[in-house]
Symmetry: D2
Subunit: 461 residues, 4 copies
Amino acid sequence: MSNIRGRFKKDMDEAAAKYSASVWVDWRLYAYDIAGSIAHAKMLARQGIVSDQEAESIIEGLGAIINEIEQGTFKFKPELEDVHMNIEVGLIEKIGEAGRKLHTARSRNDQIALDLRLYAKDAISRTISGIRELQRALVDLAEANKDAVMPGYTHLQRAQPVLFAHHLLAYFEMLQRDIERFGDCRERADVMPLGSGAVAGIAYKIDRDFLAKELGFKKISNNSMDTVSDRDFIIEYEADAGICMMHLSRLAEELVLWSSSEFDFIELDDLYSTGSSIMPQKKNPDIAELVRGKTGRVYGSLISLLTTMKALPLSYNRDLQEDKEGFFNCVDTLLSSLEVLTGMIATVQVKTENTSKVAGEGYILATDLADYLVKKGQAFRTAHEAVAKLVSYAAEKGKSLNELKLSEYNKFSPLFGDDVSSITVELSLAARDNPGGTAPKQVAKALKQARKAIGDSSASK
Amino acid sequence: MSNIRGRFKKDMDEAAAKYSASVWVDWRLYAYDIAGSIAHAKMLARQGIVSDQEAESIIEGLGAIINEIEQGTFKFKPELEDVHMNIEVGLIEKIGEAGRKLHTARSRNDQIALDLRLYAKDAISRTISGIRELQRALVDLAEANKDAVMPGYTHLQRAQPVLFAHHLLAYFEMLQRDIERFGDCRERADVMPLGSGAVAGIAYKIDRDFLAKELGFKKISNNSMDTVSDRDFIIEYEADAGICMMHLSRLAEELVLWSSSEFDFIELDDLYSTGSSIMPQKKNPDIAELVRGKTGRVYGSLISLLTTMKALPLSYNRDLQEDKEGFFNCVDTLLSSLEVLTGMIATVQVKTENTSKVAGEGYILATDLADYLVKKGQAFRTAHEAVAKLVSYAAEKGKSLNELKLSEYNKFSPLFGDDVSSITVELSLAARDNPGGTAPKQVAKALKQARKAIGDSSASK
Amino acid sequence: MSNIRGRFKKDMDEAAAKYSASVWVDWRLYAYDIAGSIAHAKMLARQGIVSDQEAESIIEGLGAIINEIEQGTFKFKPELEDVHMNIEVGLIEKIGEAGRKLHTARSRNDQIALDLRLYAKDAISRTISGIRELQRALVDLAEANKDAVMPGYTHLQRAQPVLFAHHLLAYFEMLQRDIERFGDCRERADVMPLGSGAVAGIAYKIDRDFLAKELGFKKISNNSMDTVSDRDFIIEYEADAGICMMHLSRLAEELVLWSSSEFDFIELDDLYSTGSSIMPQKKNPDIAELVRGKTGRVYGSLISLLTTMKALPLSYNRDLQEDKEGFFNCVDTLLSSLEVLTGMIATVQVKTENTSKVAGEGYILATDLADYLVKKGQAFRTAHEAVAKLVSYAAEKGKSLNELKLSEYNKFSPLFGDDVSSITVELSLAARDNPGGTAPKQVAKALKQARKAIGDSSASK
Amino acid sequence: MSNIRGRFKKDMDEAAAKYSASVWVDWRLYAYDIAGSIAHAKMLARQGIVSDQEAESIIEGLGAIINEIEQGTFKFKPELEDVHMNIEVGLIEKIGEAGRKLHTARSRNDQIALDLRLYAKDAISRTISGIRELQRALVDLAEANKDAVMPGYTHLQRAQPVLFAHHLLAYFEMLQRDIERFGDCRERADVMPLGSGAVAGIAYKIDRDFLAKELGFKKISNNSMDTVSDRDFIIEYEADAGICMMHLSRLAEELVLWSSSEFDFIELDDLYSTGSSIMPQKKNPDIAELVRGKTGRVYGSLISLLTTMKALPLSYNRDLQEDKEGFFNCVDTLLSSLEVLTGMIATVQVKTENTSKVAGEGYILATDLADYLVKKGQAFRTAHEAVAKLVSYAAEKGKSLNELKLSEYNKFSPLFGDDVSSITVELSLAARDNPGGTAPKQVAKALKQARKAIGDSSASK
């Protein structure tokens, strides 16, 4: 730190130094920081700002440092504040004078923007892969249980029968949107910031396009002041992650419900269950609960950075340092949540006899009864009212629909005929034969499309 | 409401009915609701589910209702709960039996999804237009003051001189990303949900592609259960709006700072200023403060819906009704904030003599001094340290840089020569001559590109 | 508005005027505003700042205005911006010159602080009453079902049997803490702000203690700059409301679960149930879902104001105007949520035969088996392991605990004797006989204390 | 972990085990966990549940473990999941059979509730001390500059002159409320949870009052189900911390503003300033910026836990594990922010010549002019309008108020006399002589009260 405190008479207060040091957090960026410095050194040499030998020496020195970091022998020093100064000082110690030239035509302001963008692009790729794996597990589970029926719920009340596979594919769709969103975010992260300097740009003749190419960016940023103070791509990742965790929390909630004694739809594998410190019989869906609970953490990271950025004047302000810890935490949480949910889905046993049994219970086919009347010519609202009264009557008598006699049916509409007994779960399912509906034919088609979307060759099966 | 309470013996409790009624809020969707119903009726007729005469009667009836609503003669009744039932009941009162057939092959669950998506697409278009207007005002202001210089700030400390136009264009870039984000969100909103029914799909032979075409959607949704419980597009809008309001809050903060006596960089027009109830001299930047303050409201709408959706099992749950009020409020807030900021920017007077004066004060050219030494062969870190000590020396002496004698310069580096006096604000600006930098040449190019991006023919000027 | 625009040449831009007007929202404060003005007028007269006749005229005029507002004949004009100016201008129109003196020794900055504090104190009282009513309904329901047994859940898995009343009393305790928190908040709201002026205090000899007494405040505020920029009491209310809504969301979640076919623990009254637009059989717990969903809205109001207040320099800034809409919405939401939940709890039917039946099923008494072994001398960890293996064995055999033979028990511990059959749900309950436990004796005591806490004379029964 | 997996055939999946392990975070609770276990062991012995020798052995073993932890020789093992199992297993390894008895009559559910409450009580005490220190620094700074005058701002516009000390005391008041809030939170944290067991209470005759006394709690909890699922005290801490950080962010914002070249009101000490990696002249208020930025983190922790707790059914759910990381982070952030701000305030140099100079500039005394007219008999509104026009006139002429001639004054009101020249900053200050006002007499009184509140003997000076 001392080397950028040239105009100060005193070192920083110890508590303040600790408060402002970020190396505890940003050391994780070392590989990106060094990749950026190597590209920068190459560019400086190409432009004649440093000599070729100096650039070589810098690149070699940085290579040595990355080895040391990965072998655990490099000492990060909090008093050097951040990952950038730690590496730069380490380089100077190693190669001397040439090292003192690396920071020419660069500021920490554009340097950290670069590191974060390289990290973000990687994080997005890993996130999308993680989502793909969960999609694959859902499709596998759907195919393995492709004839299973279950109640479709609204308001947590049984509403209409659906295929279990149809239910799982709803999550496939949510995750598909998540992938799109992260892909869009990647476009905005994929912008090369170096050359923005501290705020005004760089007073050397540099080659930003070379840097972009060297570092794998699609384009260079347009405005130096915006570039050093822009963290949109992080907030956008966190918002996308918030939506994705919300989806995961819904799936997790269902796993918790389904593994309860009351639903009893699934059996979680021991690999993903935990016991109790006091109740010997317990088999708890802790992993699903943790996924659900960690949703809070991801929402928190989003609101944190939005708060931090609110009303900051241009350009770089130190507040921005707060971007990293929440971002890393958000990425780690999402990736690990995807991983454990994928494992749970891949190993869960579906009790299809149970789901099927309740799929036909009660008055779940009432909509089909109303549609039956409509097809016999009644207006829908009138049919709906007639069936509602019929259900109310049956409930009072304690009878299910198929226990009612035709004469009882006819109390509510003369249109009911003997064929009312043909209304079954199977018919109900098959009737929903429009794209997006739960008819087995439609679900089979949807499964095939899903396989294709995740790039599985088994899509043809 | 009574007509969907067929199985109940009692009306709802009055407080509960009021609590659950949403017509106070969702009446705003009437035009979308009716457009959806008209398309639905056409489709029902095409498919032979209702007769052509019935469809015509429905369409005519709905046309009459929209007129009544727009003339203020239609009575929305809270006891009919929501906009959908109000219109359906109104229709039945108007046209009788045919009206009772409109809800065939449809559920409120896919109906409200449709209304919201139509509204969202409109809202996004209006948002993008609003952002474009603000961009235009920024570009106009930048061009009107294109030679003005000001200090570029980091940490709210004067860092390096920049062009005022360069500073404004930083906001142009932020807004450009906002437009991209809203555009991406529109892609995901642009999906036709009708045909999903309550949860399982529709048991009539319907034509979803016809509906999509009729209503101007790019495609139909893939999974009925997902469709009725998906509010991603609203959350995504709110997240995009959160980021956009964050940008506006930064601009508002600068307007507040710049109109303070201490900065004195701008004079707000009376059109956008307010007085005090007690202090006769006050001219307050209230509008900018309100924009800044309303950021909280938009963040709030985002966290509200994320919270509401957390851990909801499939499919539709009544919790989802909470999506609307926050969404409408978010859209209204963003649109009006864009509008007033555009007006403020369009009418603000820039005191360029003041910004220019302070752009050269103090030690703002210190970076250029360091770069000077680098160009004379010194390593950057060494140059930086030398200049830091020089600045510290000058500050103690109470002298500015151009008040120092060469001999004083030479105390810190022998490389300083007479040409040190050539380091001026103009030179400093001109030197930052890489894409994205503040050199007048670069800024002129950036202004041209900005004009092009907003589709202004004046781009050629 | 014009009368505080003395130094301006132009009226405000129309959109800006609409944007900054708050009378759409703050008109609700009229009664508090007028109460404050009456007290202020009295004080001005006591101090000789206005004459007694002037004060009388003002008070009479204000009384007339409050009547007009309550009879709906007073016209609030948006162009007069806020409730304060509307009333002041109305007064001047009514009584002339004396009306122009009312704002002496006062600023809108301390005036709005007063109105908000009066409103907040009222809101807190109503909130506490609302919570009390819900507590009462819970205690009534607990007493009406005081012998009912149900499974106590952890991880939504059946863990140990508990009394239904014990479960309900858990919510009583949460609500009790809510009352305490709101009570503490009231202490901090109960501070009289008038006399702070715009920022620096008042330059007339006023009597703040008189104002405090007249308006029912415990004390006066200590620092004028803090007073005009302090909204802590609103944020604190919103945080307390957030915690309270979280509690309500948990209760609502349980009502939703319990009214599902899978749990089937309760029957909601028709008064608090809704039907479906398409599925005639549905009886949905919409009100409970709405309570759960509205939690998002309250969290949103909290994060909104926290965001708005972040990093505002002293003293009053217009951003503060954003405090009101979220606050009113938060109060309205909490009060109505309490009301409908109270009604639901008061009318719900508990299916105690169902809850009792499942309270003894499965391996729910395994903890008691482990405790049995401990009481026979085994270390707890060893006992826990033995019973865990026993449960695993029984599950594999498909037997419940009381279907196992003693010889099977003894495979896992020789300590099991014939008396193992005495372990029943009743014994399990009775054994938890420490304060806070579910033993009927303890729960009876807790019910009595609860009655006492809510001030019911029936506490003695 | 194995010892609570008695009924499982397989170990957990590795990723799942890592995902659910909390020892990385909760090891920090070790001292509280052990204190709780020691009290529990004593109680078990008193009640004859374990023998005295067993208890002694347990207590000795735990004492040894705490030493090992503090000397860094104790190995926390992630595969043992959490701090509780790590210590219990460590104890069993050390003392054998007796160690297996420690968990008798206890569950991890009440154990973790205990640890968290002990930690929370400590955290609150340290927080209150930290706030006190900052208050002391503010009072010291106010006294050291007790005659300094500065502009009081509203809307960041100069409004009326105030004493610098008065401005600082506004923060004293905010912090005073923070202390009250944390004190109230402590009351609710100060409740002993042991004896609640997993959910239903404990089936041994235990002595909860003894535990409360031994562990320093005021009372015992009332309901076992509530106790194991209650995290209100953490959310309340986080909400209080959110409000407190908001206050600190306001102070930090002012330090940033005041240390800008434009305001130039203060000089930060080198101890609390940082340099730039590229701009040698920079002296940045990074620490203040970081305090401001970290506000986001604290808001984030609040919204995280509120989200996590939303709609959780009773009683303990694993989601609750998410409480700790955010809580610890929140406490650490608040404590360190208080510490560095205290240091900054203690070392800042106030440029009183600058603050005083601008305190009288411009039209800052316009309110006093209006009050002058009121005291000569004009109605306030009329006086306000006259002065507003006078200011407008003067601004156009480019004159300050004291540069206007009496004849010019009289254009706007005949009541102006020669004594108008007596309106000075000093008079303006002195006139605000009511409690809470900025008159030097009032501020001196306020400083004395502040000293008393923080318990300083120097209160008498």
